[in-house]
């Protein structure tokens, strides 16, 4: 059954570039924020399923180092989102 999507001002859907490994699995390498700027992900420090109360949703949460900042990147079904105000 089709599920309806919600949009919340604190939920920012982003484009993500990822590297897919030959033995399966992948890691996000950079993301494109809603203003068009691309940010390289230096390191993924944690991967777990988690809910985002701020943005409203749940998914696989990638904790990413971008420069000197730590941000959360969520993979919800087939879309990536981030929480506004953290990135």
């Amino acid at each position: 059954m089709e599920e309806r999507r919600y949009c919340s001002p604190d939920k920012v859907y982003v484009s993500v570039k990822a590297l897919f490994y030959p033995d399966g699995g992948f890691k996000p390498t950079s993301l494109i924020w809603d203003d068009g700027c691309e940010y390289a992900i230096d390191k993924v420090t944690d991967i777990r399923r988690a809910a985002s109360l701020k943005a409203g949703g749940t998914g696989i949460r990638y904790t990413c180092r971008i420069g000197n900042k730590t941000v959360y990147l969520f993979l919800e079904e087939d879309r990536w989102f981030m929480e506004r105000g953290r990135g």
Binding site: M1, E2, E3, R4, Y6, S8, D10, R48, R49, A50, A51, S52, L53, K54, A55, G56, G57, T58, E77
Partner: protein, 420 residues
């Protein structure tokens, strides 16, 4: 035998919680998820705690709820989303045991007896599940821990939200027996009234009553309730993937407008029969008995059933049988609000069959091929790509798509439909 460790997990205010997670702006407001009033499903399906505090109850009409709480945020249900969350919750349960038996979308029993030496005792596992549900899904769960399914379920109702309640074989008398009889599974309104008239108001009252006397009052359910109240329930938690066999295939619907004539009823029966027949074909069944269910605008309901001469999976057979049952059992006094059709007494579709001397067998086979072709067309091009001409007479009634509109079915505790 070693005592079992059974958990019952209940996702609190499930639909409303999932909605509130996705809409941060309404989290602190009273929220109710309601069916579509235009389709006459306009009742409260779920509400959050602020809405509950104003006295709103599940099953109330939207206008009643709004009277109690003028600022109520009314949301339409998003069943696709709830199904995903239910699946995610089951994935969490599945990491502790393979015996997970869902009870509706938001509840499930878990038998963790075998995992206790690895994952800790019942309470520890329950607490861990609650933490994970909260962190991973963003909603809360109440978990009851006990040595049988009935007490585990009662436990999950005792403390809400986000709490664990343990009921042991030592303390169940002090924890369970003071509860009102109506809290026990299968004590509905009618049973509650019958019991109350005889001074039986609490679960403890049921437990100390002579089971033979309860049987004379309530039939075989009397003894079942007595054994529930005493903690003798030993029904197993069904293993995943071992869901019970299908006993019947049915569909019912509250129609978009009241039905007033035989033609209206016939049209609705055809819509329902088509979906029932399609689902029977999907699962490889034929039915030997048809059952209908009628509910009028006064909410008075009757059901009737009739046997077929031979097993069938043809929608025309079902609809004709439904119509003849209807004519035999319903007297038009009030318009009709809901109708249902069910095929029961199922047999495998490819089992041997007695042919008839005076019926055109060739024609029947062709009929079956046509219906299979219709299934194929609908699968590829959508439900409304092909329709009976009959259904074009009324836009509203013809536009019902019972197969895809109904994903969430009510459930029964005894999966085989019988007693343990």
């Amino acid at each position: 035998m070693k005592e079992r460790v059974i958990l019952h997990s209940d996702l609190n205010n499930f639909y409303a919680s999932v909605e509130c997670l996705h809409r941060p702006e309404i989290r602190d407001k009273p929220v109710a998820v309601c069916g579509d009033p235009l389709l006459r499903h306009g009742i409260v399906l779920a509400k959050n705690y602020p809405a509950k505090a104003t006295g709103i109850q599940t099953g109330e009409a939207i206008w009643q709820a709004q009277q109690k709480c003028p600022g109520l945020v009314v949301l339409p249900p998003n069943f696709g989303l709830y199904l995903r969350f239910a699946r995610l919750a089951r994935e969490i349960y599945a990491s502790y045991t393979d015996q997970v038996e869902p009870f509706g979308l938001d509840e499930a029993w878990l038998d963790v007896t075998g995992s206790c030496h690895v994952c800790g005792d019942g309470q520890e596992i329950a607490d861990r599940i609650r933490t994970r549900v909260k962190e991973e899904l963003g909603v809360t769960a109440s978990v009851g821990v006990s040595y049988n399914k009935i007490f585990a379920k009662l436990g999950s109702d005792m403390k809400k939200p986000d709490a664990t309640t343990v009921i042991t074989s030592e303390d169940f008398r002090s924890m369970v027996w003071p509860l009102p009889a109506g809290d026990l599974l299968y004590v509905g309104r009618a049973t509650k009234r019958k019991l109350a008239a005889r001074g039986i108001v609490s679960i403890g009252d049921i437990a100390v009553t002579d089971p033979a006397w309860l049987r004379s009052l309530l039939g075989k359910w009397g003894e079942v309730l007595w054994s529930f109240a005493n903690g003798f329930d030993d029904s197993p938690v069904i293993r995943m993937g071992e869901e019970s066999q299908i006993k019947s295939v049915g569909n019912s619907i509250t129609t978009p407008r009241d039905l007033e004539t035989d033609e209206d009823v016939e049209m609705t029966f055809y819509v329902l029969s088509e979906s029932v027949a399609e689902r029977m074909r999907e699962h490889g069944f034929k039915c030997r008995t048809a059952q209908i269910y009628i509910r009028d605008t006064n909410l008075f309901s009757i059901s009737a059933q009739g046997k077929f001469l031979r097993p069938t999976q043809l929608s025309a057979d079902l609809a004709e049988k439904a119509m003849s049952l209807f004519r035999a059992h319903y007297v038009w006094e009030n318009p009709i609000r809901s109708l249902g059709v069910k095929g029961t007494d199922l047999v495998a579709a490819d089992s041997c069959e007695q042919l008839f001397l005076f019926e055109d067998e060739e024609r029947r086979r062709k009929q079956e091929k046509i219906e299979a072709a219709v299934d194929g067309l609908r699968h590829r091009f959508g439900h409304f790509s092909i329709q009976r001409a009959l259904l074009l007479q009324d836009q509203k009634l013809g536009a019902i798509n019972p197969k895809e509109d109904h994903v969430i079915h009510p459930v029964a505790f005894f999966k085989e439909g019988g007693l343990p």
